[in-house]
Homo-oligomer: 409 residues x 4
């Protein structure tokens, strides 16, 4: 296809770092595409931007570099392989040149207090303009056909009463009046949509999940999607819970206990930031098992584990003749290594949608998210079917028949 | 609907016992329908035979009684509740009156050596005639509109070279010539189909899984389905494996270790009988994850566990950038309490198909089985979709439009 | 030996109920002594009070009855067996006659707000006198040679600054001056020691763990012991942690997550009450593994589990050449069934010590407790050795040579 | 102390490789002594040979090199760290110079068929003489004060009827008469004892575990010890099982399932070789829990796991009032990284015993072994006490008072 820019909010974080390392390692033929959904049938049949045509840049509020992040990640987690890292280090250094200071308004003290690479701005409107300028400069300097913006920054505290931003006008006014609550993630999203850049929110933060921003995406026909990448325990839940539903087994209690030790874990130690995460995680079970008796998720910070998100889930359920049974699982996944390929997938799929003029919410990407916007289906297999169905429709050459977008319902 | 007979092969075993206890407890309003697929949406919308209109009988090769089986099961496993058992005991006693001696040809020494309630017969043809007479007598004596035969007997050793029975003629000849290999489960199935009784094989034994019997079912337009009820570890596999496939994660090894202590476990101690079981269990993963590196299933007999089938599965998989990760689960389920409601479901659904003239293989029931005949789809969610789709087609009143059956493809 | 009274603080709770049910079931030869430490070698060689010579009574602040508690426990947890319960019901009813209203000062709102069977008293001194009178009446009415008091009531919030009660005089003054902080558990302990009754504290509450009460026990030569019965996850920790220490493996993190659904769990939902518990639980690991990197314990209330205390522990450790490894375990124990036999053990062993004139702290009973008073050894095997050593000294007839008690060091 | 040679049987295997890498890394101050028992209190108080005074050599029947083994181990398991490996590579190369071809008589086809670096010998006596010459040459060439021989080779099939070698004379005769059953491990042990070299058997193979060899060790006053290093699942069992015993809990079933993917695992795929291992492993539980109901251990070969020995143990037990409960654990340990430091410990402790003239069986080292010769105590804490007691006796300067050795009982 074409030269596609991928602009990562949180560009020096673990997920961004592994995404860039991985994309460059694939491009240099040093690793396989395992873990990438767009590398498997049937999505691989779509005419997506080639991985070596992706150009990376981004914002971050913490100083440092991708090279340093990658080295640290390697030392702590043994991933990526050192030879791979040595080979792609020049590529990372090139991306480092394209990282700009970010904004941290309303991201909670756990993020903002450690932020040390902040874009100065006199007002929200100034901040937004600066972000737009960064996106534009990226596209121009690197001669890109298209820029996709992906939020992979730390989780913000949940926004109270989001309905007040339910129209495009309300959002514009909030920005103009220096609204004290509008969080950074919404500013990045606004700036992307305003510039016509496809946008994905891989975090539980607000991002494009405001009525006003959705309206804007529809009106401007810009593809967007979110939110909260489904990579670990919640992914497993979305595969397992339908089994209990399908067999009419009654889940009495589902306890989930996550421990992890990366930056994400550190930020989630702050209860305010954790609240946003837990809402997304809890919703999957409530959606699939409306009669669930007890549903609790805990996330704890355990430094020694670094990026290894370890989750223990205990499921107490009842079957025929009131027989009580249990199932438990332990998931030990490298959170960033699970997330990184999905970031690449989303960038490619959003670029594809944009190329085909398919603006608005991209519901067929629900399988990527814990809290897919406007999609009630949480069963992972059925969400995958939605993507496969999309692929089949497009790969047949029947691209003319566009997917229904939000505005047209 | 109508008065439906349910004839259970292995009528005094755990699964049969709990199925009868449960059906009667539901009929007497002493327990909920938890665990029954036909009690949930959308299957509950079909006009199925009412649970209190089901009449049970069956064959068994071991002496004893359902009352004694139920008491023993209660003492060992705490299920069913004693009050429930007291209340349904007269119903069990009535079913005991309808249990007839069975046949145990080619069931392996683990079964045949302990068999002590055998129907005497001079030849296979005699045996088959006797079984047919038993079915017929059941229907007449109990004034039944229809009889559904369900195999819930112990697992037989796998049949070598089943292709030799690929035509109806070959099966008939094998029976006439007292073939030394044809197993008991096939005789029961033959007898059922010959009499026009719908047939379900809940075990990994041969049952109706012979080309000749399938031909017969098509020609006589008798619904049948199988095989090997999916109730525990394999059920979980069929829900989880699609997650790895859907995310393009490479499973390096999947170890499954089952321990259980009931009669089923005792019979599976015999390696010959175990072989049949392992084939069904292993196939699910190979179907969903064609590139799986290593796939082993073990079943061990641990007497103290009784009916509590406990399985530990350990999954070693690789993600992006060659990152190796693991997931493990422990399943502790009461095998019979999971199987029993499905037996009732199958009886009701086969009766329904028969009532609607839908003979041949019932592919929409694939979700019930580890090795669904003629269905390659092992993803549990998608199998459930097949059933839901069937229900929607029928519940809309569009019953006229019959499901395509095997013979018509 | 002799007729021994066992006075249970929290007499209608789960632990007390199962202790009484079990003692009576053993006395009536309806169950084995599995789970009782005094029934195994070498402790079984001591000349302890016979189980059928134990007479039970107690205090409780919640109305109800042991009969009702036992029935409820049976229904929810399947334990005890119904036949056993039927047989001992008259014995339970007899004990119910001997239960008196209790006091609930400073037990935290989770306890005191639900308390509905409270002894009225105008002052702490009045309350203490009433408790003493109850003990005395029990001894007289039931013609007992000795009364042992065991605290099995719900956990109190931890007492701030316990050093202010460091002398007997300070305790007396606090009682006389209606001290607003002195908790109920200390009043029960004071009353017991004042009357010369041996006392055991099976809970994390204060009980006899005040300098002033220890002084009193020494001066009056009354045996006492505590605190916080070691029955589940912490028991396992005290067996496993020495393995890491003995092999010089470095524990980086030890996460413990407990879920349970009984009254104990409900009270621990209150953070104040939970604090006391977590202190005892955490101390074991810190004692055995002084260099542990991260040590967290969580207790969550999960109603559907009832008395089944389920714990998942995840241990991340480092070996030679910085190799990081993990171990995890899941414990599924019936908390009360694990605690109940130990209550009987403690009553018998304290009666024995009292009979032999061994007053003061009973350090040889450390293996029973999470936070054994004045004992630093937390290795379970070594704690068991302390008991075995005591037994050997006494069983050899060398009873003359008394164990050193606190006052004599 | 002095210059001590450590002669490793199986010198190119994983355990030997990591032991050499680790010893050299410690000597070069590149890693900590985590995992070494002699580095912790109180054993660290003994005047043991310094780690940088250890000189390594050995036999192997497979060609290759330690350098290659270490590289392969690093790539497959991520251990040791690459920087460490780079630093010690010259040391490994020096050890490679001192590795001699071994003998593989009666080691089973799984070993002997892959053996490609065999010492040629016309008879058993010739073979023994050659081994002795190798040991002697090592001592002379490297100017060593003492040589300790440690068997870390692959597991042999168990020896049938070992009693026939019950005297020194019988062993001598067997060697002279080219006995067809005497396994290689016994020849290595014989050669060591004949030369007066202390000997440790870290494997389940026969080694010095023959009456005749024990007699020889006593007569020649050579220290020896064995067998089967306790490093993973069995270590955990020996810590946990005493907990069940100490609380009088009845273990109904203890299932242990081990999966691993290293050379050890490959050899154990051969049922004959596995038999020896399972005997050692099973004995620990039978020793601690004589009334155990069911005790099974499985070892399966799962290539993708490499050196990561993963074990799942499921314990079904009964407590008071017949309450059935369960505990399960999963152990994920790097087998070689756990074994390697113990090999260094044993070499140091045997050198110490030899220096102090303490020949014969070294019972105080029981904590290192699954099947400690002549020691019935399997409780890990108590075994550690045996070592600590030894240390205290010696560290006090009271070395004069020698530990009782086998011959003096």
């Amino acid at each position: 296809m074409t030269r596609t820019g991928v602009w990562l909010i949180g560009a020096r974080g673990n997920v961004a770092t592994l995404a860039v390392v991985g994309a460059r390692a694939v491009a240099r033929d040093l690793t396989a595409t395992t873990g990438m959904v767009t590398a498997r049938e049937p999505a691989s049949r779509l005419d997506l931007p080639a991985i070596d045509d992706l150009v990376f840049g981004g914002h971050d509020v913490h100083s440092g570099s991708l090279v340093a992040s990658a080295r640290r990640h390697q030392e702590r987690n043994g991933v990526p392989d050192r030879d791979v890292l040595d080979a792609v280090e020049p590529d990372l250094a090139a991306v480092d040149e394209r990282v700009r200071p970010g904004v941290a308004v309303n991201t909670g003290p756990a993020v903002s207090e450690s932020a040390d690479d902040l874009r100065s701005a006199d007002s929200l409107r100034d901040a937004v303009e600066a972000l737009r300028a960064d996106y534009a400069e990226f596209q121009t300097n690197d001669d890109l056909d298209r820029v996709v913006v992906v939020n992979v920054a730390s989780t913000e505290p949940p926004l109270a009463d989001p309905d007040r931003y339910d129209t495009r006008e309300a959002v514009e006014r909030a920005i103009d009046e220096d609204d004290p609550d509008l969080p950074a993630s919404a500013l990045y999203a606004y700036a992307a949509l305003a510039e016509g850049h496809p946008y994905a929110n891989f975090t539980p933060s607000t991002g494009s999940d405001l009525g006003g921003l959705r309206e804007m995406a529809r009106e401007e026909n810009v593809p967007h999607v979110g939110k909260d990448g489904k990579t670990g325990e919640t992914l497993v839940k979305s595969a397992l819970a339908p089994m209990f539903a399908g067999r009419n087994l009654r889940v009495l209690s589902w306890e989930g206990h996550n421990v992890l030790g990366n930056e994400d874990g550190r930020v989630l130690e702050d209860e305010a930031n954790e609240a946003g995460k837990l809402t997304s995680k809890g919703g999957v079970l409530d959606g699939i098992l409306p009669d669930i008796g007890h549903n609790r998720v805990r996330i704890d910070y355990t430094p020694s584990l670094n990026d290894w998100k370890t989750a223990w889930d205990y499921i107490h359920f009842e079957g025929f003749l009131e027989t009580e049974m249990t199932m438990q699982f332990t998931w030990e996944g490298s959170d960033s290594a699970l997330a990184a390929p999905l970031v690449i997938d989303l960038a490619r799929l959003l670029a594809y949608a944009d190329e085909h003029g398919e603006g608005g919410l991209q519901r067929h990407l629900a399988s990527f998210f814990k809290a897919p916007l406007d999609v009630d289906e949480h069963d992972f297999s059925r969400q995958v079917d939605m993507l496969d169905e999309y692929v089949r429709r497009h790969a047949d050459g029947s691209d003319v028949e566009r997917v229904p977008t939000e505005g047209e319902e």
